[in-house]
Symmetry: C2
Subunit: 231 residues, 2 copies
DNA sequence: GGAGGAAAAACTGTCAACAGTTTTTTGTAA
DNA sequence: TTACAAAAAACTGTTGACAGTTTTTCCTCC
């Protein structure tokens, strides 16, 4: 017993403050507590999160990478305002990325990956009944996150993380879809998992393409009803 | 003449110091003056660039996004060491991105875009004769950069910028290809431009796919001769 | 009342300093 | 030597302060 981890005990190797702020902050935006178009003065956030401006700047910079925040030099950062053109961009880029991920995941996914997907699907069904649409959206993103990780392609995963939050944002704010529609989406996830487990890249790619198009159409039609308002 | 731009005169609206450092720093890495595996102490860089650590941190963070630098919390950043697996990742991701870009550029590219591409091709031929391989590599990347911009897809362009420097890095450090091979590559660019101007998306996509595969094979074989050394 | 401009307030970019960690150097024993 | 531990040096994360810019408020004039 020669190792004495005086500070570093748990699994978390005490992350930088900015990382902690980032997580909280991202949730504030995704939950809508901070609205599109809102300005984000570093000073204000610093006192809100009780840290200095350094870590705040790190968090804002990260959120900008994720596409949830926009900023120009010497101007205050703002929560991004997304419109229908953005939905198309995200859909088309995501399609390119995810078809690649699907093909590779079909070859490289492990039993652990499948177990994680099954677990997420179970929780999705629970949320569908309990009716927490926000949690359901998070689980949807989480399912696809497993596929990207299962593709065993670091750069592809990184590219996905830079649109992931925007995808979640749209799912949360625009998915007025009926329960039946959401139920369909879960069915599609089931089929996807099944195809992955059968190691059939072609089928996985095809199902993925169909699934993403369905999701795009669901969002796109919801968008026409209630476009995101600018401030 | 009521406007008196005491400081802000040129086109450049005085960029943040970190941006300036980033450009210089990136060149230092791409030119090989800072080698793969080298550590990058903020303090040292701060005195090198004659700024405080703030802007240096910004620049390192940006270079990390570009994949030229890796870092973990509380450890010094290092210049990334890339191997054959990285070449495959970059190739496969780039292929997905660029096929999408090609298809859209064929539809959206303007006369200005074509003019820029022609200009780059002219300069490539000059460099091929004058024999500055580094400049030739930069021009290669620049040509593809125009295509991505011509695709009129902000997020796609952003995704490209996050592997672009790595692509350039490989072109510079690994392209031992003979002049004849480089000449072929320039030919391929010419065909690509021609297809773009004829607004034939299918042909553009096909040519792009072939072009990227050729480039991948050129790099991949060069890699086997002289793999990047770790420190 | 509304437009325009000056004054005040708020905010960003940058820097230097401090605390606590990681890395290197030095010293000691096998 | 070689291995290991302690001490010293170097480095990162974070903070608070200052300069200069942007944004807001307030005032004046039409």
């Amino acid at each position: 017993m020669s190792i004495t981890p005086s500070v570093q005990v748990g699994v978390v190797p005490f992350e930088p403050l900015g990382t902690h702020v980032l997580k909280q902050f991202r949730n504030l935006i995704l939950s809508g507590e901070v609205a599109p178009g809102d300005t984000l003065p570093e000073t204000e956030l610093a006192s809100l999160f009780k840290v200095s401006r350094g870590p705040i700047r790190d968090a804002i910079s990260a959120l900008e990478r994720e596409g949830l925040v926009v900023s120009e030099p010497r101007r205050r950062a703002r929560v991004v305002v997304l419109d229908e053109k953005d939905i198309e961009e995200i859909y088309s880029l995501r399609r390119s990325l995810e078809l690649l991920a699907a093909e590779r995941a079909a070859r490289h996914a492990t039993e652990e990956d499948f177990a994680e997907m099954r677990d997420i699907l179970t929780r999705m069904e629970t949320e569908l009944n309990e009716g927490d649409p926000i949690q359901l959206s998070h689980l949807d993103t989480a399912f696809h996150d497993v596929i990207y990780r299962a593709s065993r392609h670091g750069r592809l995963y990184k590219a996905w993380t830079e649109i992931r939050s925007q995808v979640t944002f749209f799912l949360i704010t625009r998915n007025k879809a009926a329960v039946s529609s959401k139920s369909n989406a879960i069915e599609e996830h089931h089929s996807l998992l099944e195809a992955l487990m059968s190691r059939d890249p072609e089928r996985v790619v095809k199902l993925t393409d169909n699934h993403l198009l369905s999701a795009y159409e669901r969002l796109s039609s919801a968008m026409k009803d209630s476009p995101t308002t600018s401030s």
